[in-house]
């Protein structure tokens, strides 16, 4: 039934290739694709020709070098290697790789802002962020536009570097985004990645983590808000192959509206050599209305028992009528009460992204979609009006 599914003992994909034709077009029955509405992928599987060029811009900051690198130069680097047809198309269809490099022992104070605007049509882009050893940087990536997009973002965090990455998908209602974020950690590197999915008709966002040396520490945060029939699919694969690593995965989603569908698949593999690791993954979903569906599948596979901690959890709950009654009994109208509950639900994620101003802009977008444009008290606890 699932011909391309990897055997249970090894999560490595059966086919790794830069050639799209090395991969079959999925039928939808494969384990990897069974949740995805293939007809809404904008022809990404069938018509692998770029008809547009995404506008990629990177803010100019001291200590950050931006360059375009030919694909061939980075091909052969296993961490970029496509694992399915669309990621292969997104590689071969991109004109080049936008390389954002932070030199070793550099601290970049301001966040690097990267915008990827996807115009009408089909477009591809590849981005690589290389964080030098002992460097500190934060990067905010924002997807906008109306097009069908597939791409890859690779984050290479060298030894003892610290990278804070936030990826916001805020495309128009017609857009498609199938992307893969791959994080590679050197010795004692610390990476925090937040993926925030708000827009587009269909989003399929894979995040994978690779440890090349002991002591890597990754925190994957995810937030998605889906309504009006959107499909938001998030897949996580953390591959603990090295000792003394740490991974913490927290994704939270809120969804409402007929036909709205969210999917979260969280795979954590702890290989036999990865002794002394500590991993925890959790997905929580808040279903705000009838007709919306959340699928949530955590998988934790341990090949060694010598771990500090290993756990996973998943919970999908309905919007609580009693919470609504309590808030409304205090004079707060229905729309604002829903905003408060959703803001409260997301508060822990948004409080931890590490990107200044991000929480506020994300919540304002969600507020507006819940019908509230003017919120008096900021429930995230940012009392910016206090000047005493």
């Amino acid at each position: 039934m699932s011909p391309v599914m990897a055997p249970a003992s090894d999560h490595a994909p059966l086919v790794v290739s830069y050639d799209p034709e090395a991969f079959e077009v999925p039928t939808g029955r494969e384990e990897e694709w069974r949740f995805t509405p293939l007809a809404r992928l904008g022809g990404l599987h069938e018509h692998p020709q770029a008809s547009a060029v995404p506008k990629v811009s990177v803010s100019s900051l001291d200590g950050v070098t931006v360059s375009d690198v030919p694909l061939t130069e980075l091909q052969g680097d296993a961490s970029a290697a496509p694992i399915d047809r669309i990621s292969a198309i997104a590689w071969s269809g991109a004109e080049s790789v936008t390389l954002v490099a932070i030199a070793p022992e550099t601290t970049v104070d301001e966040p690097v802002e990267i915008s990827i605007d996807t115009p009408a049509g089909v477009s591809f882009a590849q981005l690589r962020i290389e964080v030098g050893a002992f460097s500190h940087v934060s990067v905010a990536i924002r997807f906008t536009g109306e097009g069908v997009f597939a791409g890859g973002i690779q984050v290479h965090a060298a030894d003892q570097s610290k990278a804070t990455i936030a990826t916001v998908v805020d495309q128009d209602a017609s857009a498609v985004n199938v992307s893969r974020l791959h994080v590679r950690l050197g010795r004692d590197a610390v990476v925090k990645s937040s993926i925030i999915t708000l827009g587009a008709d269909l989003v399929r966002m894979n995040a994978s983590v690779e440890y090349t040396a002991p002591g890597g520490d990754v925190e994957l945060l995810g937030l998605f808000f889906a309504d009006g029939g959107q499909h938001h699919e998030h897949r996580v694969f953390v591959d603990h192959s090295q000792p003394h690593g740490r991974s913490s995965v927290i994704y939270k989603g809120a969804l409402e509206g007929e036909g709205t569908h969210t999917v979260w698949i969280g795979d954590v593999l702890v290989r036999a050599d990865a002794i002394g690791i500590d991993t925890y993954e959790v997905n929580r979903n808040l279903v705000l209305s009838d007709g919306a569906r959340a699928d949530s599948v955590p998988n934790l596979e341990l090949e060694t028992g010598e771990v500090v901690g290993a756990g996973h959890a998943s919970a999908t709950g309905r919007f609580d009528d009693e919470q609504m009654f309590y808030l409304r009994a205090r004079g707060i109208d229905e729309d604002l009460a829903r905003v408060l509950v959703v803001r409260g639900f997301f508060a822990d994620i948004l409080g931890r992204t590490g990107i200044p101003g991000l929480a506020d802009s994300v919540m304002r977008t969600i507020d507006a979609r819940l019908g509230v444009t003017d919120l008096v008290a900021d429930v995230l606890g940012v009392d910016d009006e206090v000047d005493s």
């Binding site: 808030l327 229905e334 008096v376 606890g381």
Partner: protein
């Protein structure tokens, strides 16, 4: 002067076995400045009365009316009722994870008052109200009701009472689960607000204990979905000495006959 008038109120709840009547003809008029205690045994429907006044969607009103200064309360949504001046201090306050007490209170005060209170004045007002109820300032940053002890939940309800300044306050078993010290603090808060003369108070309770701290003007005995006897404070003393048995027996006798 504000008046809440309840006339021949019938209400029921939908159950697996069909519609179950709970309130069976409640008549009660509460005016500003008055305190009414409604006392009854478990399952008599006295808490349902509180929830029906506040507009909980679980209950359907099948007959009768509730008006506040002539305005039809039953036509109002839950939040409209609160903005019109009704307040329900709940027996089981609900947890709202991630929403801080401070922001909840300010959002609520803004909704009820119709405009956002000036921040500095608001912070002062909130701090003073919290201090009066012996609530630690750190409380403001905690999530609403999350991890609160029973006493903290009830003090938080009375804090809202004092900040929202309703015309009619309904206290649903505010005394339940409180030790004597907490009961005293909570009662003092209620009395402070009562003394302002702005409110009519409906105190719903199973026990007479809270009536030693909050003195009612009127006491009503609630059995089987309606008021079966009304009197002054002395009726509470009778209940304390004799319990509800006499009244329950009388209702059973009338049903049997």
């Amino acid at each position: 002067m504000s008046t809440l008038e309840i006339v021949d109120l019938h209400a029921s709840v939908e159950t697996d076995t069909g519609e179950q009547p709970i309130l069976r003809g409640v008549d009660l008029t509460i005016s500003q400045g008055q305190t009414h205690a409604v006392m009854g045994p478990n399952g008599s429907g006295k808490s349902t009365l509180a929830y029906v006044i506040a507009g909980h969607p679980k209950y359907q009103v099948t007959q009768g009316s509730i008006t506040l200064d002539g305005a039809d309360v039953l036509e109002m949504s839950v939040d409209e009722r609160a903005r019109a001046g009704l307040f329900l201090a709940m027996q089981y306050p609900v947890e709202i994870p991630g929403v801080s007490v401070s922001n909840f209170l300010r959002t609520s005060a803004t909704a009820v008052r119709g405009e956002a209170p000036k921040l500095r004045l608001w912070l002062k007002e909130m701090k003073e109200a919290m201090a009066a109820l012996s609530i630690d300032p750190s409380f403001a940053e905690r999530s609403v009701n999350e991890g609160f002890s029973g006493g903290e939940k009830k003090r938080h309800e009375i804090l809202q009472l004092e900040l929202l300044k309703p015309k009619i306050a309904i206290l649903d078993e505010t005394d339940s689960g409180l030790d004597v010290d907490a009961l005293r603090v909570v009662s003092e808060g209620v009395n402070r607000y009562r003394e302002s003369g702005q409110t009519g108070t409906l105190l719903i309770t199973h026990y007479t204990r809270i009536l030693r701290y909050i003195h009612p003007d009127f006491v009503h005995v609630f059995v089987d979905g309606r008021i079966v006897e009304s009197g002054g404070p002395e009726l509470a003393t009778t209940l304390e000495d004799e319990g509800y048995e006499k009244f329950i027996a009388a209702v059973r006798a009338s049903v049997a006959s």
